[in-house]
Amino acid sequence: MQRHVSKVELVTASVIALFLVVVFPGLHAAGAVSDFTIKLWGKYLCYGLLAISVDLLWGYTGLLSLGQALFFSLGGYMLGMNLMLMIGEDGQYFKSGNNPSLLPDFMVILGRTELPSFWKPFYNFPFAVAMVVLVPGLLAFLFGFLGFRSRIKGVYFSILTQALTYVAAVFFQNALIMGSNNGFTDFKRILGCDIRASATQRGLYIATALALVLVYAFCRWLTTTKFGLVQRAVRDSETRALFSGYAAANYKLFVFVVASIIGSIGGALYLPQAGILNPTEMMPEKSLEAVVWCAVGGRGTLIGPIIGAIGTNALKSWATRAFPDLWLIILGGLFILIVLFLPKGIFGLLGQARDFFAKRKPEAASATAEPAKP
């Protein structure tokens, strides 16, 4: 197949992976990197997972989902239910003696004295982790099954995903039992470790970096299989794919479920590092932001969205402090510039540069274009 993993790519990816998973947290343990920085980068890498989730759909399958932040938030909510229960005796109301049954504080405000039954299994951490995969996966499956079978595509798919995330946001805003507008916050412990401790934050960062590396490797594999070929065939010419015997709807459904689970994992890892989650995270503009990261980094590649997510958010961290009023204008301007001048994003610059030099040396280009097949 065309996009075999080359040695150069393998070495580069391994070096970056090693740096992210081992060296960077090592520097933190040694005190060379601050707690603030490692937490910030942990969040960036979570955004990277969200961006990959968008790109797998948009860049590789031609499905512009404007609702991926929903799955990101759902992942957060699932793990968040466990973290809320783990606050236990550290909760404000327990300390003041008003919460003998150790409910999350917001439930005490609601006047509840007993935990709702669907909350109970979330005392178990592995159960919460399983829900991080299952709940968004199931939602994506149901939505995708109905949508793709009815051949909803293009802009209609985008609108529907946007509507879905909006509806979910309104639902969670009104779901008192899920914390409504305030959502979840004030976490104390994860797996028994103090969530604010330097070592815990480092552990969370390592888990995120590892997840990103594994997801990258998985997607890299996925896109080089025959599945990947069909995926791009559906993107470029769905009608032709149908006339090649491929049930495009099944392929889209599979990608949609996989992408949503990836987004959800990102959200679950984001939650303990951000320390707060509320329904505004599900609003359509959050999903749109992730689409911008993809476009900036370079859609249709796997490195591009990660670069886009980290780059745009690093810029955001800096610009919101330096020019708080201008941040949205900067983001908008960046998006316009990228769309106008770098349709393939920042990562696409490499390809554009290569094509530019290849044109100047046509013979050298044809020699290096593709390795001969056996």
């Binding site: 197949m1 065309q2 025959k226 010419s237 009608t239 032709r240 006339f243 015997g245 599979f254």
Partner: protein, 259 residues
């Protein structure tokens, strides 16, 4: 016709098929029978319903009424595009329709006969038989040295050939070939004709064509069907249809004689 159709199993039998598009009758009470192993050429003036007919056979559109049966027992209108494809009906479109962002090799790989399921696609690696088959097809369609080119970079004629190669890779029972020679040079057209002739017998083929030189090349000694205003005007050898008064009428626009 009716008696014959009940006695014999045709590969494809369409009876009393109608299809209109917002009032325009594209297909009008069409009856069409195709034997296994035939190479049938379908001609007809613009708007005669040739491509609409292929759309009906391949599931792109559904007939308003009438039956289309494959191998005597499968009702085509009940199936969707990919199910019809999986019966062994392949189609080459009028304008070359290949995956332009995929390489020539990948285009063939996507078309190669075999499972079309999601799970199978995750773990499918072409084995040596399949590789040999694709190499053979590349040689047949004259694209050996372009195998790693993106299909979008091919010349128009080469794209037509690649699409024919994709049909070969599919190893379909019935090949529906819509204007294979469109936009080709005379030499390319002749080679395309030879390719189709070499496939006759192994596959059942329906070719839609305008170019009468090409039609004479591939239809010599075979049946030609003339479509006009959505139904079959006449059928017979090339010479018969070319000398048929009704055919001359519709092609030359002569006034209908009353008889």
């Amino acid at each position: 016709m009716k008696i014959e159709s009940t006695q014999k199993t045709f590969l494809l039998a369409a009876e009393g098929v109608n299809k209109s598009f917002s009032g325009f009758k594209a297909i009008n009470n069409l009856n069409f029978y195709l034997d296994t192993g035939e190479l049938r050429t379908v001609i007809g003036p613009n708007g005669a319903g040739k491509t609409s007919f292929l759309d009906l056979i391949t599931g792109r559109t559904k007939p308003d009424s009438g039956t289309i049966e494959f191998e005597g027992n499968v009702s085509i209108p009940k199936l969707n595009e990919y199910e019809i494809y999986r019966l062994g009906i392949g189609r080459k479109f009028q304008t070359p329709t290949v995956y332009t962002d995929h390489t020539v090799w990948e285009n063939l790989l996507l078309s190669l006969e075999g499972s079309r399921g999601v799970w199978a696609s995750l773990f499918h690696q072409p084995n040596s038989t399949e590789r040999d088959r694709m190499d053979e097809i590349l040689a047949t369609i004259n694209l050996v040295s372009q195998r790693h080119w993106k299909a979008g970079a091919l010349a128009h004629g080469q794209k037509q050939w690649l699409e024919i190669g994709m049909l070969l890779a599919q190893n379909a029972k019935l090949l529906l070939v819509d204007e294979p020679a469109a936009g080709m040079t005379d030499t390319e057209t002749h080679k395309t004709g030879e390719l189709l002739l070499s496939l006759a017998g192994k596959h059942t083929i329906v070719v839609i064509e305008h170019d009468m030189v090409f039609v004479r090349q591939i239809a010599a000694g075979r049946k030609v069907t003339v479509l006009h205003q959505g139904s079959v005007l006449c059928e017979g050898s090339v010479d018969e249809v070319q000398n048929d008064e009704r055919v001359l009428d519709v092609y030359l626009g002569r006034k209908k004689r009353s008889n």
